[in-house]
């Protein structure tokens, strides 16, 4: 959105490397770290056993899907695009899994492969339509959202059918038992760690640098020889793939319904922005995006502990986001 132009040329201090891992500048992760610390202290006061390793791991397990989605959304946003299709993609993946597995354990692995492939395919279509046909990604992925929601309902005739196998649910629910100190190490946390490491490595690689450059100034990136269409498409592929991973974890926790992924695209975008990433691209780190998601999840946990009803929690969520972003931009100006 060109309102972003209102901000004076952002500090070069954060550099093209864009990580901006220190300081208060644009894309810095320090504000989100402070909010997260405050929230974690508040949760700890309210629930004293929160820092016992098993409780903490259970919390991370619940937070894993959103953090993974936020990482995927980060790649797209930092390149200057949006992915509004991830929520509907998560729903589609879970519904497809239930129908194809239909309680048959033997079908688990082939279906998982298929789900990951489907996520990549959706990302590829989003990426190609956006870069080759030059449709703004907001519209491309909005269209994809409509298509996916419509397709899932049409395919299932209005209500989800089939069931997930226990083997499939294992990723979201179970873990490696008997780990010293920690107790059970959930698979979701392992998957999350893997995604986090890969995402940070990707952003440190040449790909990450080009991606930031494309988001910062597409024309300059193109002129200097960056294959902008290719990196943007790869960003959409990453978003689709990570949405599939998140869907596999979410399918494990909860039941199969059309509501699994509802609104997740906005939650993920919110998380990314909370992490100091600037909509419009070029600024912010993937670590910040994932911390933003963790912060959001901590906030929801705290509201839950304080007995704030689910209804009011969206209002508090809205208020916190506005406050966090406003403080971030005001700091930027001074």
């Amino acid at each position: 959105m060109s309102t972003e132009l209102a901000t004076p040329a952002p500090a070069v201090a954060s550099g093209l490397g864009g990580g901006g891992r220190s300081g208060w500048g644009v894309g810095s992760i320090r504000p989100v770290l402070i909010i997260l610390a405050l929230l974690l202290i508040a949760v700890g006061i309210r629930q004293p056993d929160f820092y016992d390793p098993p409780v903490l791991l259970a919390f991370l397990k619940r937070a894993a899907p959103l953090i993974i989605l936020a990482a995927g959304q980060y790649f797209v946003i930092v390149a200057g695009d949006f992915d509004l299709s991830v929520g509907s993609l998560v729903t589609a993946e879970v519904v497809i899994a239930a129908r194809l597995i239909d309680g048959d354990p033997a079908a688990t692995w082939p279906v998982i492969a298929l789900l990951l492939g489907f996520g990549l395919l959706i990302g590829l279509v989003n990426g190609l339509v956006t870069t080759l046909l030059q449709v703004p990604s907001f519209i491309t992925t909005l269209g994809m959202y409509l298509v996916l929601v419509g397709a899932v309902y049409t395919w299932t005739g209005g209500s989800p059918r089939g069931a997930l196998s226990e083997e499939f649910r294992m990723f979201g629910r179970r873990g490696i038992d008997g780990v010293p100190v920690l107790g059970q190490l959930p698979y979701a946390v392992l998957v999350l760690s893997g995604v986090a490491v890969l995402a940070v490595l990707a952003m440190r690689s040449d790909f990450g640098k080009v991606l930031l450059a494309v988001g910062d100034n597409p024309r300059a990136a193109r002129v200097t020889g960056a294959r902008t269409a290719r990196v943007r498409t790869i960003a959409f592929l990453a978003s689709g793939l990570l949405a599939a991973v998140a869907a596999i974890l979410l399918g494990g926790f909860g039941g199969v319904s059309f509501q699994v992924g509802q609104g997740l695209e906005f939650t993920a975008i919110t998380a990314v922005v909370l992490g100091g990433v600037v909509l419009g691209g070029g600024r912010g780190s993937v670590a910040g995006a994932m911390l933003g998601a963790l912060t959001l999840q901590t906030l929801l946990t705290l509201l839950n502990l304080l007995g704030v009803s689910g209804a009011l929690s969206s209002a508090v969520q809205g208020l916190i986001i506005l406050a966090a972003v406003a403080v971030g931009t005001l700091r930027r100006r001074t």
Partner: protein, 334 residues
């Protein structure tokens, strides 16, 4: 800035090269009418025309407001919740009494104007990205609605239901209201100083500001008008439903659908190009697609898929045409 973009920016809205929605509407009417006729129905019978125009009215009023928000380089994701809120404000204030109709209408206009003002101030004074600002405000309203209301509330006197059900010949009163709102905004864009400043602001915020346009004021005013349109749509829905409905806006998907209608009408998402007439075409096109599928009794979810594809395809065609015209201009200059 290159000459062709300068030239494009000097042109008035509504005279834009991207405006291909009318041919698309004609094609949809011919193809849809033929299909329905082959099926043994009639798309142009009085009853189907009326329901088609009625469907267009609600979305249309919101989309007109969304048009100027997008033209100004902004957007408004809070409209869906504003619609729900104002439908409740209207129905609860009226509480079935004729005498309260006028106060209720005034109150709705005040409430929606205040929300628009908040949106505008968040975007201009706190410099929050429009996407996040209006999403946050939407979440706040959503929380209030979910906290306070479990279902429909309030009631609308019979005198006010005329707005939702009466018609002049085959034209519903609500469609005339849509036409009036569209005409008022069209005139404002074409012939007032504010309208020209709005296009300048959307085209390039910095250039507009440097040329002496008070861009903050323009953006705030734009958001107030956009919210007012959503409030008017809320009034219409209250009169149609006979009561206020806390989920009518979100379930109708008025936020993303209105953006889709605007973009379908050829307004460029980045701002500065497009106009209200295109949006009217976009709304009618969506309504015709709806009407055709209803007549053919096609699954409503399949309809949504087609909608998604149509929107993306239309924008792809516009992008292609824009590139062609700019190539041609470049060739002419050379």
């Amino acid at each position: 800035m290159s000459t062709e973009t300068l030239r494009a920016r000097l042109r008035l809205p509504g005279l834009d090269a991207t405006n291909g929605v009318w041919p698309a509407l004609a094609v949809a009417l011919i193809v849809g009418g033929t299909l329905v006729a082959l099926d043994g129905g009639s798309l142009f019978s009085e009853s189907s025309t009326i329901s088609l125009l009625q469907r267009a009215a609600g979305l249309g009023i919101v989309a007109v407001g969304q048009t100027i928000a997008i033209l100004a380089g902004s957007l408004d994701l809070s409209v869906a919740y504003v619609i729900s809120l104002t439908s409740l404000v209207a129905a609860e204030t009226m509480a079935g009494s004729d005498g309260m109709v006028l106060p209720a209408i005034l109150l709705v206009l005040v409430v929606s104007a205040v929300i628009g003002l908040v949106n505008g101030l968040l975007i201009t004074k706190l410099r929050i990205n429009a996407f996040i600002a209006t999403l946050g405000v939407g979440l706040l309203i959503k929380g209030y609605l979910e906290q306070g209301y479990a279902g429909p509330a309030g009631s609308v006197p019979v005198s006010f239901q005329h707005l939702g059900y009466d018609r002049l010949g085959p034209v519903p009163l609500s469609f005339l209201l849509f036409a009036a709102v569209a005409a008022a905004v069209w005139f404002t864009l074409r012939s007032t100083r504010y309208g020209h400043h709005l296009i300048a602001t959307g085209g390039d915020l910095d250039v507009a500001r440097l040329s002496g346009v008070r861009t903050d004021r323009v953006l705030i005013r734009t958001h107030v008008i956009c919210s007012l349109c959503a409030g008017i749509a809320g009034l219409y829905l209250a009169s149609r439903l006979g009561a206020g409905a806390p989920r009518v806006g979100a379930e109708g998907g008025y936020d993303l659908e209105s953006i889709a209608a605007v973009v379908l009408g050829g307004t460029v998402l980045a701002g500065g190009r497009g106009g209200v007439t295109g949006t009217v075409g976009g709304v009618l096109l969506l309504a015709v697609i709806d009407g055709v599928f209803n007549q053919l009794e096609v699954d409503s979810f399949f309809k949504q898929m087609v909608r998604g594809v149509v929107i993306v395809a239309a924008v792809a065609v516009y992008a292609l045409r824009l590139r062609r015209t700019s190539d041609r201009r470049k060739a002419a200059v050379a």
